[in-house]
Symmetry: C2
Subunit: 301 residues, 2 copies
């Protein structure tokens, strides 16, 4: 999995401070997560091929998370896109997009599929042989979901020498990778574990923004390889969280610790702080592995 941060600042876009958008590359997919104003320019800046974006996940309908969506859809149209585009987001997103396309007489020449969300329990949005994407219900001023991207259990690795020694014909190798015991050329049953190795671990990425401190998410994101959790504020401004339904860096770290995730990535910083390292410092008092999101930064998960 490779995560590229296109924007990680809260509220209003500034020069060199983009609102939320991320690209997650996993098992051949390129998932776009949120799409603040200017995301299409950020995609160009970091050389993400537009044609590879086929699924866009929108957490909630605050502008800093989706005002760039209509522009991206229009640009796809102008570039002559033909591939389907799937958009997952809160109920209402379809009306917003279609109204604008209608009034500009700019119907897309590709198929646009809207998957509107209004459930408050985790919901499977996407599944293929290798990956699933599920909503993570969050707690914010408007209806909001995070997203959990999970690799399915991978194939076992063939111990090629051991398999040859055991006289297994190569036509059975795929079965071995799938975990089956197989018969060798003499007709003897060979135990799978004697000729295969453990698969690479399946990875998972939990995106949780925007949200107030919400421990209810912990069971769902347990042991995620990486967790992006918003940290709009530092503890010194914790009193602002109640009204705005945002979190502090410390609160993000508490969630990371309880969920025993691999790495905590902080982002969605309020513009009031000059020194980002304070977020890391505050979170590290609670949790051992903390990274700071920055526009353009890549994370290998």
């Amino acid at each position: 999995m490779k995560l590229t941060i296109l924007g990680c600042h809260s509220a209003t876009p500034h020069i060199n401070a983009n609102p939320t958008a991320q690209v997650l590359e996993v098992q051949g997919h390129l998932f776009l997560i949120d799409c603040g104003e200017g995301t299409q320019v950020q995609l160009r800046r970091y050389k993400v091929k537009f044609s590879r974006v086929k699924h866009i996940f929108i957490s909630h309908l605050h502008g800093d998370h989706f005002y760039g969506l209509i522009g991206l859809i229009s640009t796809f149209l102008l570039l002559g896109r033909e591939a389907d585009l799937h958009i997952y987001g809160p109920k209402g997103i379809k009306e917003i997009i279609l109204l604008q396309l209608k009034l500009s007489k700019s119907w897309t020449n590709y198929s646009l599929f809207f998957h509107e969300l209004d459930s408050n329990v985790p919901t499977l949005l996407f599944e293929d042989e290798k990956v699933t994407v599920t909503t993570i219900p969050l707690k914010h001023r408007v209806y909001t979901n995070g997203f959990l991207f999970q690799e399915k259990t991978k194939e076992r690795k063939l111990d090629f020498e051991a398999a040859q020694k055991a006289n297994i014909h190569h036509t059975y190798f795929q079965k071995l990778k799938q975990g089956y015991d197989v018969k060798n050329e003499k007709g003897e049953l060979i135990a799978n574990k004697t000729v295969t190795l453990e698969p690479d671990p399946s990875k998972s990425y939990a995106y949780c923004s925007d949200t107030a401190f919400y421990p209810e998410m912990v069971p769902q994101i347990q042991h995620a390889t990486a967790l992006y959790h918003e940290s709009t504020f530092l503890e010194s401004h914790q009193h602002l969280c109640e009204k705005t339904k945002h979190s502090t860096a410390k609160e993000a770290a508490v969630i990371a610790k309880r969920a025993a995730v691999g790495t905590l990535i902080l982002g969605h910083y309020s513009g009031r702080y000059g020194d980002r390292s304070l977020f890391k410092k505050e979170a590290e008092e609670i949790f051992f592995k903390v990274e700071l999101a920055e526009d353009g930064k890549e994370f290998e998960i």
Copy 2:
């Protein structure tokens, strides 16, 4: 009048190539003309005070001319704006903006006035003692207006020495500036022209984008001090104008010549051309005074 180009490129935003937006400073007003995606960042880049923007004129509902509007309105809200904001644009613009504010539960704490347009004849949109703003009906794929910004006739200038010599009491000076003959302290009637000078010329700026070649606009923009006329294409691509309802640099120059404007400013360039100077060269074969718009460029009109 001072015109600042925030963006002058057609269609899709790129790094360092912003879609259409301009700021016109005239007689204490700061008018925003069109508002493509990223306009709020461009306003910050060129240090335009957000609080001075009170009137926004939207030519048409293609994305490269208004996708930045909802973001700007939201940012005004987040910054605690209290001043009224007036938005002039095609019918439908109110529905687009209000739908998004409703779904994000982000009602503005300032008053938002929509002036929706659907007339095909020039319409007065704004007037005070010094300035008028009128629509210029254009010809495009969707309903589109340009905008004509006109200073009213200015006051005559007092010839202070001549007025003193003529024994005119200073309480009559304002009357003199307004063009009246007045009596002096001896009761003699003094002819206005003997104690005043011609006023500074009144300036006007015509913004015409997007539009096909449309000579019907010529009478309305006659003798404008400056004309911004779109030139999406060069003549070598004139065949694309019919379908897209855009103009070439040459066509823009023909309009400028027929209207006998002071200066022609070209913009809304298609991304297919590397060398902008070709637009200037082509237009200069028809018209004597041609300037090229560039993001961030200022024009004294």
